[in-house]
Subunit: 330 residues, 2 copies
């Protein structure tokens, strides 16, 4: 199979690329497992040498708003596209036109390129729980209205709608997934309001202090990198019959308080580590977090067999294993 990942140098894109190359098997449109013959990695940033050196990898570097570049990254023999590239929340809020160009127009261009090939390729589209916001019920269910409160969320919901309609028309075989907040992200904090959720686990484990700007009783809807990658591959591998007419789902996650996250850190790594969280309340961040959806019922995703993390402790242990070579700074 010939596969393309957009946003391939992002945190999820990199992990997905490694996973696809290692497993070397995906379910094609015929419902049968096939080897990955070619993996095209599209991003503004070059992939790691390890990925670039794999003989199956083709690197396409550049701006996703460039139609010619997209056409190069998604040639006519493409079987599957994982469209992960996006301008994230704060970025799309700061630069409205950039958000529209990347999150809406590039998504539509990818759908149109796939349609033009006439081969109905599989397309996995990364959406977000930022689809929800504002006045919401206590539990967000599959049939709760998408009421995004950011341009990023708006553009993602528009992407979901296009994926559904292009799939209904038979132009692509699409699947749109709403990601929970992903913890524990490796690397540095970014500008997302949710970044502290990873920081308060990641930095203490590495011997650094981290600020938690929200109250311990604040709640977040979370999923681990491992479960996200597992579910992205599952979303691809399910047949169109298994998906049925509606091509969207909120991925399973777990809703937990920040206190429970800190408690899990103490359980796994001890009090010395969890004491490295500085509770410095920031009313601005608190306001944003309080506006997020309170809880989710992801019945559809669970019925389609998507996985849910078992516990915060398990997620922290996986982070230590995957990103810290098993070592905690004592």
């Amino acid at each position: 199979m010939n596969v393309t990942i957009t946003g391939a140098s992002g945190f999820i894109g990199r992990k997905l690329a490694h996973r696809l190359l290692a497993a070397n098997s995906l379910i094609g449109s015929n419902g049968e497992a096939s080897r990955v013959e070619r993996l095209t990695l599209l991003d503004v940033i070059d992939p790691s040498a390890e990925l670039a050196e794999d003989p199956r990898v083709t690197v396409v570097t550049g701006d996703i708003t460039d139609r010619a570049l997209l056409e190069k990254a998604i040639p006519v023999d493409t079987d599957s596209v994982f469209h992960l590239a996006a301008v994230v929340s704060a970025g799309a809020e700061e630069d409205f036109d950039l958000g529209m160009a990347v999150n809406l127009d590039a998504a539509r261009a990818i759908l149109d390129i796939c349609r033009g090939h006439g081969t109905k390729p599989k397309l996995v589209f990364a959406s977000s729980c930022a689809a929800f916001g504002g006045d919401m019920p206590d539990v967000i269910a599959d049939m709760t209205a998408r009421t995004p409160q950011t341009s990023y969320g708006t553009q993602k919901v528009i992407g979901e709608l296009m994926v559904n309609d292009y799939s209904r028309k038979g132009f692509v075989d699409g699947r749109a997934l709403r990601f929970p907040t992903v913890v524990v992200r490796p690397g540095k904090p970014n500008k997302a309001a949710s970044t502290f959720a990873s920081s308060i686990i990641r930095e203490p484990l590495q011997g650094d202090r981290a600020v938690c700007p929200v109250k311990p009783e604040s709640r977040m809807f979370l999923a681990s990198p491992r479960s996200i990658i597992e579910n992205v591959v599952r979303a691809h591998n399910l047949t169109d019959t298994e998906w049925g007419p509606s091509r969207e789902a909120t991925l399973p996650g777990f809703c937990m308080t920040i206190q429970a996250m800190a408690d899990a850190l103490e359980t796994v790594a001890g009090k010395t580590v969890s004491d490295r969280i500085d509770w410095e309340h920031d009313p601005f961040i608190q306001g944003i977090v309080d506006g997020w959806p309170p809880d989710f019922d992801t019945q559809k995703a669970l019925s389609l067999g998507f996985v849910r993390d078992n516990s915060m402790e398990e997620i922290i242990r996986a982070f230590i294993e995957d990103e810290l070579d098993g070592k905690i700074a004592g």
Copy 2:
């Protein structure tokens, strides 16, 4: 005030133009009533001589996908835009690119032109209950997910999302309204699957026979031309504070069986007239109608003071008065 109507030669556009010129008063952004100084009518079809001859009317004729034409129709001193132009359901299904160009790209161009003016004009966007479909709950409420099953419905929901986000960003002062099926439409039947709902009232009143292709127990969600026009003007006149952050609403309508519609016709016009309905079942149309939303709870619109028709009898009498000069063919 300087006002623009797109789709001004359509059935709703014409009625709205007459209404705005006759009432000669709209609530501006300052919350105060002002006279209509200029009414720009944009459509591919020229308006009636009666409208064109009004000294306040400016006619702009041409294709709404022409950006230069849109800019001409929405000059910098525009206070309000009523965006009614659309490729309807069957048209957008037959010609996907045309639907995307008119229903999505032109709506976005109008939003961008308004944004470019930097004056935050009012914008009333006509959406549709085609926003809903597929697997639905028994009652569609304000917080029910939009799950369109047509390209037309998809494009309309995308329009709603853009109206909300452009309003949140302060680019426009927008309002998106989901119209129920409008009965009784004047004129000839069109290609819409719902066209029979008007035909079975309109043709018998004029002495002609009409075919009803669905079972008497089939249900539809309906509103009259009078209530639609009233609500479109109300949507405009409500202040941004009254609308609040969410700029969308399903307009009130009433859900009734086709049998009850025929009974109302008999009550108003007699059995000779209602016997002009030929019940000729068409499984294809029945299938489409059965896929439409079963019932609606339009709590938000009602709390904002939008009106609902009192009865089918009242709607039929209004049609006889407005379109047939008060005369029924005996």
